[in-house]
């Protein structure tokens, strides 16, 4: 297979786009497309300060690399989750994030959950009895809470995450299976800023996970290849595998699934207008972040339940 641009041997074939590119042209194409998505969805401008949530994985490090190449002001945030799993998972993730930052002379904020709240993510999950024996729910909750808090505390205009199309399609698939309308209404490339909430954007949301892996490999980005020890058997991975089987038979199925959803949501055809309005949010009396209940937010409830000293 030949590169469409130069006729040299192709390195990556994207069947959903009927496009094959060599290494050189692929490494140009990905940042060009990212810039197009940033503009299309009005994610941020070059004047704004961006905080990139980095995990040491292929997507977040690639996102940081791309934003840097495109000339955006992007600093990194690494959250230390305290996950070991016999492979020193968090330790290695942090090392790779710091290595990338140092090599590219970028600023990385490191926040350790255990230092902040007295317990690591696995400990919080156990002591708060959330998540049916797995810490993934607690991990997601803590990451969302902390990323929002830190982005706002440090004065960033926007928080960028490395979610790719497979991540988005898997979430959409799960929420569609249960018709979780409240979650469906919130999903999109941009979650606008609101009182107490930083703007959140996903510049890689239209790239397949396979494409981001190819980008990281071809760019020589060293990322953590080992999966989070708690992710094995997770629902999101099952959904991704299921969607990939569909994609193999029907190239473009994942992209269409996601893009048609965004179109339908935007046009108002999917849900009636009154449901689109965000429910009334209250400030959590403890941390001040918005919550749908008049009492403590989920995060603070979890920490309280875990009987953790937060200060």
């Amino acid at each position: 297979m030949k590169c469409r641009k130069c006729q040299n041997k192709a390195s990556v074939h994207m069947r959903q786009h009927k496009l094959a590119l060599c290494k050189e042209h692929y490494l140009e194409w990905v940042p060009e497309q990212t810039e197009r998505f940033i503009k299309k969805y009005q994610m941020f401008t070059r004047e704004e300060k961006i905080l990139v949530a980095v995990s040491g994985g292929k997507d977040s490090l690639s996102l940081w690399d791309i934003l840097m190449q495109l000339g955006y002001q992007a600093d990194g945030l690494y959250l230390g989750l305290g996950i070991d799993g016999g492979i020193g998972y968090s330790h290695e993730s942090q090392r790779l994030s710091e290595k990338f930052a140092n090599e590219h002379n970028l600023k990385l904020h490191v926040v350790d959950i255990e230092k902040e709240y007295g317990q690591s993510i696995p400990m919080l999950a156990e002591s708060s009895h959330r998540g049916y024996g797995k810490p993934c729910a607690v991990c997601g909750l803590a990451k969302r809470h902390e990323m929002n808090r830190i982005a706002r505390d440090l004065g960033y205009d926007v928080l960028a995450t490395g979610h790719n199309l497979d991540d988005e399609a898997a979430v959409l698939f799960g929420n569609t299976l249960s018709w979780a309308s409240e979650y469906l209404l919130r999903q999109g490339p941009v979650l606008p800023e609101a009182d107490g909430l930083a703007r959140k954007v996903k510049p890689l949301c239209r790239f397949y996970e396979r494409e981001m892996t190819a980008y990281a490999l071809l760019s020589g980005i060293e990322y953590i290849y080992e999966e989070c020890p708690f992710a094995e058997g997770s629902q999101s991975i099952f959904y991704k595998e299921t969607l990939n089987q569909l994609e193999t038979t029907r190239p473009g199925a994942k992209l269409t699934f996601y893009l048609k959803f965004l179109e339908a949501r935007k046009s108002g055809e999917l849900f009636i207008e009154k449901n689109v309005k965000q429910g009334l949010l209250h400030a959590c009396p403890k941390c001040g972040q918005p919550t749908s209940t008049p009492d403590l937010c989920s995060f603070c409830r979890m920490v309280e339940k875990a009987n953790v000293k937060t200060e």
């Binding site: 390195s11 997601g140 396979r210 190819a214 490999l217 290849y225 992710a231 991975i237 991704k240």
Partner: protein
């Protein structure tokens, strides 16, 4: 006349002369879930496997909480 696919700690022996895509399907590996490399170079699915090839497959899926 055979080639080998290596995915994490598993190995799959396939016939040389077939395409990468056919080899993946024959081994029950979902092509969309891996990237194949031969001698460190990325491969496209139409490439023919040669005798003695060792094809390293890199899993692309990551997941968990978001």
């Amino acid at each position: 006349m055979s080639a080998k696919l290596v995915l994490r700690d598993k190995e799959y022996e396939v016939k040389a002369g077939m395409t990468l895509l056919d080899a993946l399907k024959k081994s029950n590996i979902v092509p969309e879930s891996v990237i194949a490399t031969r001698n460190g170079e990325l491969m496209t699915e139409d490439e023919i496997l040669r005798n003695g090839d060792v094809i390293k497959l890199i899993a692309v899926i990551s997941g968990g909480s978001s």
